[in-house]
């Protein structure tokens, strides 16, 4: 009787069929199914030109500008800084020269590349997807192995459609049970990062599993996978299931007809087999997760909104105490201050983490019938032109505008401010983005990460607030 095949993880089932060749030293040449390209890619195209190399498989690449585009208009000419404008222009020119499909500012399908890829059905289960951006893990929500790469690797993929990789280790993060009311995907991932640390997933691919993950929508799964890099992991995965397939069916680049049926049969075999072994496993109980906010300059500095600013006096070491003091000084915080006592100047709802339709719906549910607090400037930046249109169809833009939010065009915007959308020095910002690093939203900016509903709550109260205290007015 033949031996039963060893149980395999979802990751194994994607990795193995993509290995073109393996070297004796353990490096694998991995084939890339989908290369997503954004407007930070000019240096990679320049590397190709310097070597006199062309793009090997333009048909497998796809480009849209997001980092440098204006969100106040759809005109490239409105990017005041010539060098920034040149980055967005370069993507258009390089894509045209190579024959890469391109969604520009005049196309409603333009948006943040990690919103657009899934939305267009370009990101599919079982695929290997790369992009020169660390938040590429987002696409893992569809059951794809997706990871961010640097400019040299972008050039390597453009030239060869492959990448040299050492097989990463695997970490399974299981979220048991059901999320309490007012708690969302963003709170899950901030809770995970707080638990494993900003480097806890380094060298690993994370598979998110458990009842609470299964219960998430695709948008929620994308939020969770998106921030895998904030735990150090290059990729995050969720096993594809009926939620995935229902969401994907009929998307422009998803397979159709008999091809869809064949793909579906393959995809149903992707989830991790019973008994498959992970290198590490972490478990959290959904019932223990509360609405989270970050207080410091690393995404691991996250606490429930009911918490208080840590006291350096309690630090376990001198090095940690110094680091805490530096962080509190930068963030303008006092030890022991309740987080709900912190007033905000800016609110940013958007980004590849939380710029999807469900995110806008949950923020609008809090904003509806309320007003942005005096002195607060609050922005909503949809993740793509299609998200924007959908929100407008549902009347969400009217809800936000009536509440005093600015309703803008799609792009990365204030997540990192490369297009000039910045938080001023010393300003405190409630943000649905992914990084609270020193200077991330602009030199001297003070970022607190949270969910869209929590950011809307901050906007209407003028301070960090517990969304559970603000019932929907509808």
């Amino acid at each position: 009787m033949p031996l039963a095949p060893a149980p395999r993880t979802l990751f194994d089932k994607i990795w193995e069929p993509h290995v073109v060749m393996q070297r004796d030293d353990g490096q694998s040449l991995l084939y890339v199914d989908r290369h997503l390209v954004q407007d930070g890619s000019a240096p990679a195209f320049e590397m190709l030109r310097q070597r006199g190399l062309g793009v090997r498989r333009a048909d497998l690449a796809f480009a849209t500008p997001d980092h440098y585009v204006p969100t106040g208009s759809r005109r490239l000419a409105d990017i005041a800084d010539g060098e920034k404008r040149a980055m967005a222009q370069a993507l258009q020119d390089d894509s045209a020269a190579a024959g890469i499909r391109f969604f520009g500012l005049d196309d409603e399908r333009q948006g943040i590349v990690h919103v657009v890829g899934p939305e267009q059905g370009l990101s599919l289960p079982g695929a290997v997807i790369v992009c020169g951006d660390s938040h590429t893990a987002t696409h893992g929500a569809l059951g794809a192995l997706a990871f961010g790469i640097g400019a040299s690797e972008v050039a390597h993929v453009l030239a060869t459609q492959t990448l040299w990789q050492r097989k990463p280790r695997t970490l399974r993060v299981v979220i048991d049970g059901r999320l309490p009311a007012g708690v969302s995907a963003k709170d899950i991932i901030l809770g995970v990062i707080a638990k494993v640390g900003a480097g806890g997933g380094t060298g690993h691919v994370i598979e998110y599993a458990g009842e609470a993950i299964r219960a998430l929508s695709m948008e929620g799964r994308m939020t969770v996978c998106n921030m895998s890099i904030e735990a150090g992991a290059r990729a995050g995965l969720v096993a594809p299931d009926d939620t995935t397939f229902a969401w994907l069916a009929g998307r422009p680049h998803a397979p159709r007809g008999p091809t869809w049926d064949a793909a579906l049969a393959r995809w149903r075999g992707l989830p991790t087999d019973d008994g498959a072994v992970f290198d590490h496993e972490v478990r959290l109980n959904a019932a223990d997760i509360a609405p989270m906010v970050t207080w410091g300059n690393s995404p691991e500095d996250a606490l429930p909104i009911t918490g208080r600013v840590p006291d350096p006096a309690d630090a376990p070491s001198a090095e940690r105490r110094d680091a805490l003091q530096r962080t509190l000084a930068y963030m303008g915080l006092q030890p022991g201050q309740p987080l709900t006592a912190l007033s905000v100047d800016r609110v940013f709802i958007g980004s590849c983490t939380n710029g999807r339709i469900e995110d806008l719906r949950s923020a609008a549910a809090v904003a509806r019938g309320r007003r942005v607090a005096e002195g607060v400037e609050a922005w909503v930046v949809p993740g793509s032109g299609l998200v924007k249109r959908q929100a407008e169809t549902e009347g969400l833009d009217a809800v936000f505008r009536a509440a005093g939010f600015q309703w803008r065009h799609a792009g990365c915007s204030m997540c990192l401010g490369t297009n000039g959308d910045q938080v001023a020095a010393g300003q405190r910002c409630a943000s649905t983005s992914n990084r609270n690093f020193v200077g991330r939203q602009g030199p001297g900016s003070r970022t607190h990460l949270m969910s869209p509903a929590m950011a809307a709550a901050a906007a209407v109260t003028g301070r960090l607030a517990d969304v559970r205290d603000l019932p929907s007015t509808r």
């Binding site: 040449l29 320049e46 980055m87 400019a151 990192l416």
Partner: protein, 197 residues
């Protein structure tokens, strides 16, 4: 790529964990062409105060580290954004090796492709090195990629491991794309078989 074999140089101590690539080079400079000297942007916002003056309390501003070519830092160095500019900034700022207990995966990979050697040493060893460097600013370290050894101030030899392929490329100054293109037949073969599947 510039080859890396061995290096003896002043090492600068940056005793902080989780130094992200936004700190190493702020987003404000990502649109600059590679022909720029990214050393000017290295740690720009932590190195300067709001008025643009150099902060005396930031270690790399000390005159003794003007010629530093090795950086010793806390765990998870280079976490966050995939920007290769962070490696370019360190490289253009004169650094050829970074020693830390751990690195962000993408930074680590980017460094190897630009002749900047990331050296992983156990946290206790890095802590000792940091203490020695802080006690005697200007201390020199020796990093030998051929032997895969860091030699500390008291002559203590600390072994490290670099991926064999990356080590070979660094020692010879080889370009990875050129190497992969020699394997093009296997890529074509792979594509043909997949098309049939």
């Amino acid at each position: 790529m510039q080859a890396f074999r061995q290096l003896e140089a002043v090492a600068a101590p940056l005793a902080r964990a989780n130094i992200d690539t936004d700190q190493i080079v702020p987003a404000l400079y990502l649109q600059k062409p590679r022909s720029d000297n990214f050393g000017h942007y290295l740690f720009h916002d932590v190195r300067h105060d709001a008025r643009g003056e150099r902060r005396p309390d930031f270690v790399l501003n000390a005159a003794v580290y003007a010629e530093a070519r090795i950086l010793v830092a806390g765990r998870n160095f280079g976490c966050g954004s995939s920007r290769e500019h962070a490696v370019w900034a360190l490289h253009d700022g004169g650094f050829r090796a970074v020693i830390a207990p751990s690195f962000g995966d993408i930074f680590h990979s980017n460094a190897l492709k630009n002749g900047l050697l990331p050296v992983r040493l156990p946290e206790s060893v890095v802590d000792d090195l940091l203490a020695a460097l802080l006690a005697a600013p200007g201390t020199r370290l020796r990093v030998d990629l051929e032997a895969q050894v860091v030699t500390g101030p008291q002559g203590r030899a600390e072994p490290f491991v670099t991926d064999p392929f990356a080590r070979h490329c660094l020692l010879e100054g080889l370009d990875e794309i050129d190497y992969t293109l020699t394997q093009e037949a296997r890529i074509e073969d792979f594509e043909r078989h997949r098309a049939i599947d």
